[in-house]
Amino acid sequence: MSAKTQTTLRPHEGWTGELKTGQVLRITAKSMIDFNCFEKDNFKEYFDTARTRIYNLNMYPTVNHRLFSKQNNPMMKFIKDGFSGIGLHDLQSSHGCPDLMLKTLGTVKSMTLADLPDPMGLFRNLKISPSGQIKPSPKGPLDPVDIELKAEIDLVCALTNCPSAELSASGADCIVTIL
C-alpha cells in the first residue's frame, strides 16, 4: 500500500478527508481519538454505534469488525488494531470534544450537536463492570500504534485528537494516513 496523503494532528486538532471504496485509513496515535464517517454523497447514511455493536455482537470494536451505518449497511472494516491486548476502543460514549468535531466537519457540512452521530472512541478504554457500571480507565499505549480501517463505500471521514485528561492517558500527536 502506498500513502496518498499524510497529516499530523496536534492535540485538540481535527481532520476530515474523503476515502474511496477500498482505500485504507491509518490512524497512528496513543491518545483518545473520536471517529465518525458518512457516505460521501449522503450524510443521512452515517456511522452508527448501535448498529455496529449489534452487527458484530460485541461492545468493543477491533480487527475484523465492520462499522455499520444507521441504515444497516457496511461502511468500513477494521483491518488492523495495534491497541488489541493493551486496551479497548469504545462504542458507549458521546464525543469528548464535540465542538472540535463540529468545527472539523463544518468544513464539509454544517451540522449541529443534535445531529452529530456518536463516535467510535479509539483508545478510550472505558471499563465496564459485571454489574454494568462504567468507569473511565485511561490506558493508552506507551508509544503510538496503528489503527487501520478499510472503506467499503466512498466516505467522508472525520476524527479529532482529543486528549481529555479524564479520558485519555496522554496528549500526543496523531498521524492520519490514507493508503
Binding site: 443521512k44 447514511e45 452515517y46 452508527d48 454505534t49 448501535a50 448498529r51 455493536r53 449489534i54 455482537l57 460485541n58 461492545m59 468493543y60 444507521k70 441504515q71 444497516n72 479497548l88 458507549q92 460514549s93 458521546s94 449541529t112 450537536l113 443534535a114 445531529d115 452529530l116 456518536d118 465496564i128 463492570s129 459485571p130 454489574s131 454494568g132 457500571q133 462504567i134 468507569k135
Partner: protein, 210 residues
C-alpha cells in the same frame, strides 16, 4: 390515578402520544418494547443512548435512573421497574427493521435468535414502528433515536464485550413507569422479538397523572 390515555398496541405495531411534564408513562408487556422520546417543543432534542449511559455511568438503567437527550438534559425518570431483579433493559441495540432481518437471513444468522434458521422474518420491525409512532411529528427515519429496549435482556460478557441475544423475558406482563421531566413526544414499538420464547406480543401503553 387519572388516566390520560390507555392504549392496546398490537404486536409489531407502533404507538405514539404527547405527554406533559410530570405525567407518567406506563409500558406493560412481556416481550421487548423499543422506546424513544423527543422534546415536544424542540424536535431536534432527542433521547440518546450514549448520553443516558454516561450520565448514569452504567449500561443498564432501572428505578431512579434518568433518560437523557443528546443535548444533555434529563427527559424522563424511571420511577418503577418491575423487571428489576429478573433482567435488564438494553441500551446496546439499535432498532430491528425489515432490512435488518433480511440481512440476518442472507448471512445465515437467524439462528442467533434461538429459534433456528427457518423462522419467517417480518417485513418490518421496531424502526418502522417507531417511524409510525412518531408519525404526527414527521421525524425522518435516519433521526429516529436508537431506543431504550425495555424488557430486552441481553447477555453481555463485559471482559470480551461479546453480546448474545437472550430469551429471558417476563413470564407475565409487567410494567415500567417513566415520569416525564419535560413535555414530550413518546413512541413505543411492540417488537416482533424473534428471541422471545413465543415471539413478540401486544403491549399496553398508559399515560396517567398521580
Amino acid at each position: 390515578m387519572k388516566i390520560i390515555v390507555d392504549d392496546f398496541v398490537p404486536a409489531n405495531t407502533g404507538w405514539g402520544h404527547s405527554m406533559q411534564k410530570g405525567q407518567i408513562l406506563r409500558i406493560k408487556a412481556k416481550t421487548i418494547v423499543d422506546f424513544a422520546c423527543i422534546n415536544l417543543h424542540n424536535l431536534d432534542e432527542r433521547f440518546d443512548q450514549a448520553r443516558t449511559k454516561v450520565y448514569n455511568m452504567k449500561i443498564w438503567i432501572s428505578t431512579g435512573d434518568q433518560l437523557f437527550s443528546k443535548l444533555n438534559n434529563p427527559m424522563m425518570t424511571i420511577v418503577e421497574d418491575q423487571f428489576s431483579g429478573q433482567g435488564y433493559h438494553d441500551l446496546q441495540y439499535g432498532t430491528c427493521s425489515g432490512p435488518r432481518y433480511a440481512r440476518a437471513k442472507e448471512e445465515g444468522r437467524l439462528n442467533q435468535y434461538h429459534h433456528g434458521d427457518d423462522i419467517p422474518i417480518p417485513d418490518h420491525g421496531c424502526w418502522e414502528n417507531l417511524i409510525d409512532g412518531f408519525g404526527e411529528w414527521k421525524i425522518p427515519p435516519e433521526l429516529i433515536p436508537s431506543p431504550l429496549n425495555i424488557f430486552q435482556h441481553v447477555d453481555i460478557d463485559v471482559e470480551s464485550g461479546q453480546i448474545n441475544h437472550s430469551p429471558n423475558r417476563p413470564s407475565d406482563p409487567i410494567y415500567v413507569d417513566f415520569q416525564a421531566e419535560m413535555d414530550l413526544a413518546v413512541a413505543a414499538s411492540a417488537c416482533p422479538d424473534l428471541a422471545a420464547p413465543n415471539f413478540g406480543q401486544p403491549i399496553q401503553a398508559t399515560i396517567y397523572e398521580r
